[in-house]
Symmetry: C2
Subunit: 553 residues, 2 copies
């Protein structure tokens, strides 16, 4: 910034570049709406009071709100590249992101992280990339890459990473695993991920330097973290919805310890409901006043992460704000970033410069397979995965008959090793076909579920070298979504990706499945061996609770 | 810190170095007292809960409080060297300081700053030195040194300075003075000093990057700064007492924007009443709960200045705390810094390593003078300085007769230039003698006030090469305090300095002066040309409001 110019504008000696006249501006320091002119110079708010500018925007009857901060998310969860994602969310007034490229890192390693960083180039948003802390997610995983502490340091400086992403390896922290310790030592800002952790173990996790947690699901969990000096990031994803449960923990005195994140939101949600703007609406729906909700969504996150001169409408702060007729409305009239109008009425006004993704377009490397790969013996009393509606937590059950069970396989897809895990699943109830996909947390191997080997083989084949989602039934491919980038993200526009996904869901309509489950989402978590209780990875059916394999083919 | 050890202790696998058992610990995040064991390892708080340690301290019936932070002070105001000052205040639980060595810098330049920094070496406290922003304080001043922006940068890196000290040159900021701009550009942390500034000018000052102000004297001033994104440091000095007036501005939602400082406290105050501990007592006396007052005094300042992992009793935070039977009591039972017991029952347990001060012992360099220097003509209707009890603000008056007026001189003492300013003063009412001193803000020239030239000359002579305070009456030196270091600070212990000062005050007892004024303190501000309205510097009687000289001899 040119300090001299800003001072001259603030002092009223010179016209501002831009003045928003007479809007009700959010004062995040008192959580009040205060009618004033807001003068901008050189991308910085120079003054709040009475000003005139070269350009003047009528703010009467409008609210002026500092733009919002998504304190933890994986762009990959929306299955579009970051530049496409941001075209949807910046117009909603969300211009700050702590993005953990954990998914692509598990497929493509540090090259994937670099791709994500390049993809957001020149986009009017503060995208702060975090170092994925656990690649692979667990020692049991067959991921596409391994990132050590040395890699983390290289990425930190080479890519200008902001901090260490959610440290999911809680046992590694508590057990002082040397690589985990070296990662913690390398970063000052460290995000957490510690569902259910309590008491001394939570103290140890906090004392290790972890400063946030976004995995609280009860107010009591949130409160314990807050009292131990951690910040609580209230998550409202597509699947994990914690906001209503956590809001009661937010009080008058501890208010500054809370902020919002989305973690994982699918494209439909991002497109139709938004992200942090949606959190603000939900919080207000729960009874919080709009000024407080908007402050949590903006200033609180900046303050927690030590980001100065962002997140408030005050002199010297970045001119990142949006103008809206309704502070809990859907799409702001105008979004400004660094004093520049970057969106209006939901439409992005900025150009993107998508990064070259050619190196990440053929990441699905399967060993040759036939239909026989998808048949495996049923034995009486064999262990099975039991799924249920509305949860990612599974049970380890047993079955006396194959009736009502689906076949599931998890196929190593990074090195064509031919490694494949098999299990029966109860409760998914796929009927007359199969679903295959390359989105499978956290290693993103190919998972396929179905009731017959022919459709399963067909669905897997349909994924091709690029990957994505495929549905087969009756010996035919019924639908496909291509996620050409790392098998995780579409290389198309968000609108095209949405249309493809809509068609796929229509195709899925022809296929039976249990009520209350979202098949693609649920399947993507059935290989994640950090969520209880029974999961399938490329090595077999894994009992998460006891930490051992209980079946494979 | 050794992260592994701290984790092991927090997890309860290993005994802590130290556990404070069962005290009511302050939770700064909720502002509650919570009974718990607090386990320390390697100087860091590892856990809060139930712990055992190699050393265990009984905390039952006691309060455990994070140590306090004096967010802005000049050690020189107590007229003892920093190492002596800290022996008085660390035992009171004040272990963090933003110290602006503005006074010594005006006498000795960057060498004086370096001396102050060396003097606190190895003392168990976080003393963060700030770069004095205005040396000399104004272009009108005849100071002992000039520190430019280039000097500031040299000091910043050479001495590891924390930020830019109170930017008093408000016109320089508003007028974009190049040297002021360069100083602002050189630092991220910038303290302010802007009494009375409001509206657009305040916006300009805040937009320039100034993040704090400790000069508010009304709740309305405090509130305006707070709304403009600045932090308000509530000052309670020996002379400037703002706490009671500002506390009403502290609300539930803006709480985090306030903290405490002492700015200028004399040795008697520091010794008898303490510093930030005294602010906490006063705040509680005004009706604030002790937990909130202690939080303002500790965590709020750390958070405002972006100091991580300090100021709270929580895992991963520095083990800087004190144990006391009464959270608003006078002297804690024990003070810990970095987990080490550094004071008990008011007594410092640490050694100091005072810096070599030999280079700063002969700083009073006056041109030869006789009694005639202290006689100057009276003219009818001449302008005079009018002082009043309880304020440093003076009026520019006029007099028709010399009756009831005192003589005052301000003598350049850094380069023996012989420059001397003269004025008459109304309301001081020295009778039968004179007071001379080398403490005279901000350039610390010799000021002398009296009712006869002989005693004035005698008092000035008595200051010698070292400087200090001297009282003469009836042709005799009645008392003297030596401030051998730069003419500002005693080179003796705090106890000896106190005894000397007590004797001086007794000597002063023989001398008449107006009721309600503290003669040495008031005189020390009569040369400060930034406080309205009439001041005397070495060039003559200065009308601060109109910025011009109105009389000299």
């Amino acid at each position: 910034m040119n300090r001299e110019d800003i001072i001259a504008v603030a002092a009223g000696e010179r016209k501002a570049d831009l003045v928003v006249k007479g809007a009700k501006a959010l004062d995040v320091f008192t959580r009040e709406w205060v009618t004033a002119d807001v003068a901008v110079c050189g991308g910085i708010i120079a003054g709040v009071g009475e000003y005139s500018g070269k350009e003047e925007i009528n703010g009467e009857g409008r609210y002026l709100v500092p733009t919002y901060y998504d304190a933890h998310l994986h762009f990959e969860s929306a299955a579009v590249r970051p530049s496409e994602y941001l075209k949807l969310t910046v117009p909603r007034g969300v211009t700050a992101y702590n993005a953990d490229p954990h998914e692509i890192a598990n497929v493509c390693g540090d090259g994937g992280i670099a791709f994500m960083a390049r993809d957001v180039r020149d986009i009017p948003a503060d995208v702060r990339f975090m170092m994925p802390s656990c690649v692979p997610a667990t020692p049991e995983d067959s991921s596409g890459a391994t990132l050590t502490a040395a890699d983390a340091v290289k990425c930190k400086y080479g890519l200008g990473l902001f901090g260490l992403g959610e440290m999911m390896n809680v046992p590694g922290v508590l057990g002082r695993d040397p690589d985990v310790m070296a990662k913690l030592n390398a970063f000052d800002i460290i995000d957490g991920h510690a569902p259910g952790l309590t008491g001394k173990a939570l103290c140890a996790y906090a004392a290790a330097g972890v400063m946030t947690d976004h995995e609280c699901t009860t107010a009591a969990e949130a409160e314990e973290r807050m009292r131990r000096g951690m910040y609580v990031i209230i998550r409202e994803g597509s699947q994990a919805k914690d906001l209503k449960k956590l809001l009661p923990a937010v009080g008058g005195k501890n208010f500054s310890r809370f902020m919002f994140c989305t973690d994982d939101r699918n494209l439909e949600d991002v497109s139709a409901r938004g992200t942090i703007d949606n959190c603000v609406r939900l919080a207000v729906g729960c009874g919080m006043d709009a000024a407080s909700a908007a402050t949590m969504a903006s200033y609180n996150a900046c303050a927690a992460y030590g980001i100065k001169r962002k997140g408030a409408i005050a002199p010297g702060y970045a001119a990142d704000f949006f103008l809206t007729r309704d502070p809990v409305g859907e799409l702001p009239e105008a979004v400004y970033f660094g004093g520049r109008r970057v969106a209006e009425n939901g439409k992005a006004l900025f150009e993107t410069h998508p990064a070259d993704c050619s190196a990440f377009l053929s990441t699905v490397r399967l060993a040759p397979f036939g239909e026989d790969a998808f048949t495996f013996p049923f034995r009486k009393s064999m262990p099975v995965i039991e799924v249920a509606p509305g949860t990612l937590v599974t049970k380890l059950g047993s079955a006396d008959s194959p009736d009502g069970l689906d076949l599931m396989c998890c196929m190593e897809r990074h090195r064509a090793s031919g490694e494949i895990g098999h299990a029966y699943v109860r409760g998914f109830c796929i009927g007359g076909g199969a679903i295959a996909q390359t989105v499978g947390h956290d290693s993103h191997n190919v998972t396929v579920i179905g009731d017959n080997a022919r459709d399963m083989a067909l669905a897997v084949s349909a994924l091709g070298e690029g990957g994505g989602f495929a549905v087969a039934a009756g010996g035919e491919i019924k639908g496909k979504v291509s996620l050409a980038i790392a098998g995780l993200m579409s290389d198309k526009s968000a609108a095209e990706a949405l249309a493809e996904r809509k068609k796929l869901r229509a195709a899925l309509g022809g296929l039976k499945h249990a009520e209350g489950i979202e098949p693609f989402m649920l399947l993507s978590f059935l290989s994640l061996t950090v969520i209880p209780e029974a999961k399938l990875n490329t090595k077999g059916l894994y009992d998460v609770t006891r930490g051992k394999y209980v079946y494979n083919g």
